[in-house]
Symmetry: C2
Subunit: 419 residues, 2 copies
């Protein structure tokens, strides 16, 4: 278990200038996106940098749901800037882009594919020392401030993939609930679904002692270790917070208690899945996002079609957990109970159906699009969706139940319509 | 929150040679104590060092319940050895001694008092870089493998104090439940009581946002931050494990499930209190240990009188929580419920008494000495016990309820007899 440092509290963002001073930073790269660059979270950071006289350059060209091209653009900026510290203010897209920029700036001779997950890239281990990165999340979903993962859309292959290494984990995550107060409703919902799936997938992932290959040298072990007694604590705790607070956080932007708790839950679930891993919902989500046609979600101010990550993950969750429950039915039943199911008379062999029904009801109540069909997919797309899932071995092999191409087809088909 | 890395699993100790190779270590200092040096945990480490060709020197002169003199002896060894990595195999005494040796070897010009907690020492912040330290706990109590604290007995002042800095936290804690199988009954019990009090004290400690002083620069904040939403997760989880497994772990050395869970609980509670802090049970325990007269506990193979740390902590716990419950009664009641109390008809104003009664029953069932009188103290010792508690401000000020000297007197008096 490698766990990032986090600092939590309303207003703690104002300390970031001191942190950078303490780190001895003289040239800081501040990454964000164009929408955020005018909003309070970035302002809070800028004020602190000014107060403590920190010299910095802003890169606000991060793409929401980044691509290889947008990563490369940020990498060029970072390589040119010769920065000695990074600050990422934003959702997962910003934090992931900043991780990649930090990595490739520290390794100027590397080709882009060198560190990208195999089999798409070469999956080389990171041996260069990176600069400190402070992440200030402004959504409550990704947990990216606590993980060693950076995800992007590989345009050429029309598939999402990423870079995964403990080395790119942020030095510090600043969990400031004030930043959640300006989040629009659908962003709260979709990022909350990401937390939900991080918790459910890491809790039901293949146990750490059943993973293979299991490299004998600890340094060669993957960031995603399988479910384990430490990640279980984080996953269950995050799931309990989601059950208690997600609906309230979506309903009412003024509900500070709910939004603060979801902001913490995002980091907690991140620590859990950042060590245990995720499995099928995430593995299948990458082609769902990558093959997007014309879907434009409400509340996202972007100029391109886009399936928000949390939505792409949650739409398959009822089908996925009905499929995986065979292996750890008691964990699936426990999750259903935490999410509100009455399991007093439940039969253990129905665990998967019970969790699936509980999730469907949860999503219906939250006004979520009715399955993959509602975001533009049809049966004809299933072969391409399956093809896009196959290279996601890094996560799909953490599913407690192995899956064939036919299984994946059936899971996509069962996710076309939910209600 | 700064959280150590831990690795958990039966037999993971055998990987330590590889870890040291990965760290590039060429001269390793292996610290342990004379009893342990012939036992399986040290053997497992020695075999791994041999297998991976790691060059090392053994220091097995660690004193159980260390003193300033025994720390200094280890420091001399470390300074002379010019080591580039440390391995500590043992209970809290060994791991704490190794932290101190690593610190002062890295800072050769320092006087011993420089880093000792104020007001006894100078409490200087640690700015020198330390060498990696891998801790392999062989008891299930201290959590020292996850904390930045090293405790010793200051002979001259007849009081326990310590060194507290994130900088001395081990690089990696190896939580190998195999090492718990040879622990004698009373060592399991007493170290388990330490876990119990870590969890109870950190869960009821003054909240992080009510602590004062609260230095504006994050680098100056103490290791002990007060209770907070992250440490709460660890404290409650550890408490649940104690409730479920401690009795079983004491009763039956072959109960691998119970002993493995207590080994994890020790690390979990360590992560909790290592960030939140402890308060009165620990503050009052230091003079209880420091002023020991002739008490020699069963199962401890030592040539000096000794009150085991876990015992010195737990004997005042009923009185302490009856005293502190005024402030967070609901947390005290929740703890009592986790420990088995039926609180369905409980009144919130009785929370302290209910938790105290629950603890008394728990200790009685486990055959614990009947209060301070049973380990050699009488009313006449109370002024000295109070005097020894006063310098423990670092922890006593984290008590949710402030306390006068009279309060401390009354707490010691109420702890003379428990049943």
């Amino acid at each position: 278990m490698a766990i990032s440092n986090i600092r939590y509290g309303e207003g703690v963002t104002k300390e970031i200038g001191m942190d950078l001073q303490n780190l001895g930073a003289r040239r800081v790269c501040l990454m964000t996106d164009k929408n955020l660059s005018k909003l309070p979270p970035v302002n809070a950071v800028l004020n602190s940098l000014a107060k403590y006289g920190i010299n910095f350059q802003i890169y606000d060209n991060v793409r929401v749901e980044p691509t290889d091209q947008s990563f490369l653009d940020a990498i060029r900026f970072a390589r040119k800037g010769e920065f000695d510290a990074y600050v990422a203010v934003g959702g997962g897209s910003v934090i992931d882009t900043c991780k990649a920029a930090n990595l490739y700036a520290a390794s100027p001779a590397s080709e882009f594919l060198d560190y990208v997950n195999a089999p798409i890239g070469k999956g080389k281990p990171v041996t260069v020392p990176l600069k400190p990165l402070i992440a200030v999340p402004t959504t409550s979903g990704t947990g990216s401030e606590t993980t060693g993962v950076a995800i992007f859309d590989f345009k050429e292959l029309k598939v999402k993939t990423g870079i995964a290494s403990r080395a790119i984990k942020p030095t510090l995550g600043i969990i400031d609930p004030l930043h959640t107060l300006s989040m629009p409703e659908r962003i709260v919902a979709n990022s909350g679904f990401d937390v939900l799936c991080h918790a459910l997938e890491s809790y039901t992932a293949l146990p750490y002692n059943m993973r293979s290959p299991c490299p004998s040298n600890p340094i060669n072990r993957p960031a995603y270790q399988g479910s384990n007694p430490v990640s279980d604590v984080w996953a269950l705790h995050a799931l309990r917070i989601v059950a208690k607070y997600l609906k309230r956080a979506i309903r009412n932007p003024e509900d500070r208690e709910a939004r603060a708790n979801m902001h913490l839950a995002s980091a907690f679930a991140g620590i859990g899945f950042g060590n245990a891993g995720v499995h099928l919902c995430h593995g299948m989500s990458y082609p769902i996002s990558g093959l997007v046609k014309t879907y434009k979600p409400k509340d996202y101010n972007v100029d391109h079609s886009l399936v928000p990550h949390g939505l792409s993950v949650v739409l398959t969750s009822p089908a996925v957990f009905a499929f995986t429950a065979q292996i750890h039915p008691e964990r699936h039943l426990e999750a259903a109970e935490i999410l509100g199911a009455d399991i007093r008379t439940a039969r253990i062999k129905d665990a998967g159906f019970i969790l699936a029904d509980t999730l469907r009801k949860f999503l219906f109540d939250l006004n979520v699009d009715d399955g993959l069909a509602a975001i533009g997919y049809s049966k004809a797309d299933i072969p391409a969706l399956v093809k896009g899932t196959l290279p996601q071995e890094r996560v799909t092999k953490l599913s407690p139940r192995p899956q064939t191409e036919e299984d994946l087809s059936a899971l996509f088909e069962a996710s076309m319509k939910l209600y």
